[in-house]
Subunit: 337 residues, 2 copies
DNA sequence: AGTATAATCCAAAACGTTTTGGATGTCAAG
DNA sequence: CTTGACATCCAAAACGTTTTGGATTATACT
């Protein structure tokens, strides 16, 4: 029922070839016939069949993106913003975006295999890189084009964009130290996540630079959710010698810490300082507003998508490794305002 | 370079047809040759080319989903949870999920046209239905399969799943009335959003049932973001005769209202009651925890995806209209605990 | 022996597009 | 009148799969 090139060809009395070439803008079609064909195609409501085109060109004009979700009730403003950035940039290049949601593990790598081996996409975006990241190892082995948000500890080269979490966290920690804090709690994410380990390094850097010995008991591992931040916050702040400040390695957990502090009757910003990382929109509207480190999530989504486009179009990247410097955003939750 | 049926056929010495049929499990292939073919395919790492298969079968095994994003910095936990539900269900059925992000309007409808007319997907998921929803009108006109999350006011029938927002909001409002509130502020979303107008109806129902005349000045329109809720909250609570309770038609705005109240020195739960709608994970961890109406977002994602699968497989739905009843969740932000 | 039945296989067409490698006709220059 | 250049057109192949409609051979039954 949909209109095909053949239908148009029959109508105008030219061959399929000529119709195809007229629509594609080749100059070996007479201007008059081109006009006729264009007009007829328009009238008949012709739209090229994406699948047929793909089979012939061997390009899908689609990029893949597997969102790492943890647990059934996954809800993270970070990813919706990142997705918006990626999606809007993809639209600019008329690329489709194929999305899967998988928890890290067996099924996740299968989702990658499916996209790659069944040639469903031209390239992939890999986010939240991990130690010895099996996704990156796999894609490199297959020679499949991708761009990662985040570095890796694999002894291999691949294109990535990353935020200097170590530097950002170091600045944040030093800011707290400059406010007089010495016992600073830290809620990390699981350390196989590269960004978590970078940020933890930044925290340690700052302590060391100021001669503060790291108290291992002040460092906990959370799961990046508000619930998890709440629980860790209760633990840290419920200690006999509680920290005077708590840093969470993402904003969602920091919001949980604020909640935990308040549930213990502490006033955040006065009795205890709290800080996060990301600067999700919610951070500015927390009560009190959350001190954090801003990484431009939406922009990052656009940039990695843009990099992938360049990689697919040109075959290589002029700038395959990009490190963005995040920016400290001081608000009231750390009490210095 | 990828292995094709032809490669296998040459290796095992059978025709492409036989290889194809062996892999597809037809019973007109001898058991011994089937084994040989299966083994060889495995060894050679054969994976069928998705594009070729699609062209032949005229099915894409892909469903489309256009996320309505507002403004560049779009970040909404509601959508990441919905997406997780949809994505996980789609994975169960081995369906690909094609995602676009567009602000409502011209570009949005083009995204639909692209998916439909270029046959990129087999069916679509439409979320956040609107008055005279042009997307639904378009899809019905094209006779294209879709399932909506939300009803419409169009004089037409289509498959949908919806939450009874009117009933939910009515219960919530009555709860506040039962606590003694008479001046209840209400922050709606733009009323062309069906859910917004349903929820507003529920609010009005409750007022009327208790003989409270609606004060138009207590009803504002927000944009569903925390920022927007904050601003509306400041307006309402800054009045000379401020309301004693404020309901926002989604949780994100309610969190903004809490923030606004606190910025005005009010203690939420004591000086003013605040309530929302959705029960996003953040709601339980707000300070104070947010009274809200729970709609099971993740489950809804799964359900609408499941419905679309049934529609595509069976050609029709046994239960084309589903209305879920939401559940009131009373927490401390309305002061009754 | 001949004939129906079953088991196993496959050539070819089809899906709708793009691209290759000419074919045909026209016109100007020699 | 021939030649070459140019403008315009198109048949056919190709992309990799699924499916149609038999073909072939072996087996079982009169």
């Amino acid at each position: 029922m949909p209109v095909t090139l053949k239908d148009i060809a029959e109508r105008v009395g030219y061959s399929i070839t000529t119709v195809s070439r007229a629509l594609a803008g080749y100059d070996d079609v007479a201007e008059s016939t081109r006009q006729l064909i264009l007009r007829t195609a328009q009238e008949m409501g012709y739209r090229p069949d994406a699948t047929a085109r793909r089979l012939r060109t061997r390009r899908t004009d689609t990029i893949g993106f597997v969102i790492p979700t943890h647990g059934p009730r996954f809800s993270d403003p970070f990813f919706s913003e990142l997705l918006a950035g990626i999606g809007n940039e993809a639209a600019r290049w008329e690329l489709d975006l194929l999305v899967s949601t998988r928890a890290p593990g067996e099924e996740e790598i299968k989702a990658y295999e499916r996209m790659v081996t069944e040639r469903r996409v031209d390239g992939l975006l890999v986010v939240r890189t991990r130690r010895q990241d099996p996704r990156i190892a796999y894609l490199l082995e297959k020679g499949f084009p991708f761009v990662a948000f985040g570095r890796s500890d694999l002894e291999v080269d691949f294109p990535y964009l990353d935020v200097d979490g170590r530097q950002g966290m170091r600045e944040l920690t030093e800011h707290l130290i400059s406010l007089g804090h010495r016992r600073i709690g830290y809620i990390s994410a699981p350390l196989d996540l590269m960004f978590a380990s970078h940020r933890l390094e930044g925290y340690k850097d700052a302590l060391e630079a100021h001669g503060i010995v790291l108290d291992e008991r002040l460092v906990l591992i959370g799961q990046l959710t508000e619930q998890s931040g709440y629980e860790a916050g209760r633990v840290l702040l419920g200690r006999r010698e509680p920290p005077t400040a708590v840093i969470a390695c993402n904003d969602l957990m920091a919001l949980g810490v604020i909640s935990a502090a308040q549930s213990l009757g502490l006033q955040v910003g006065r009795d205890v300082a709290v800080a996060g990382f990301d600067d999700i929109p919610l951070a500015a509207h927390a009560q009190p507003p959350l001190t954090t480190v801003r990484q431009p999530i939406y922009e990052i989504g656009r940039r990695i998508c843009r990099m992938l486009v360049e990689l697919l179009r040109e075959g290589s990247l002029r700038e395959p490794h990009v490190i963005l410097r995040p920016r400290l955003v001081v608000r009231e939750s750390c009490g210095s305002i």
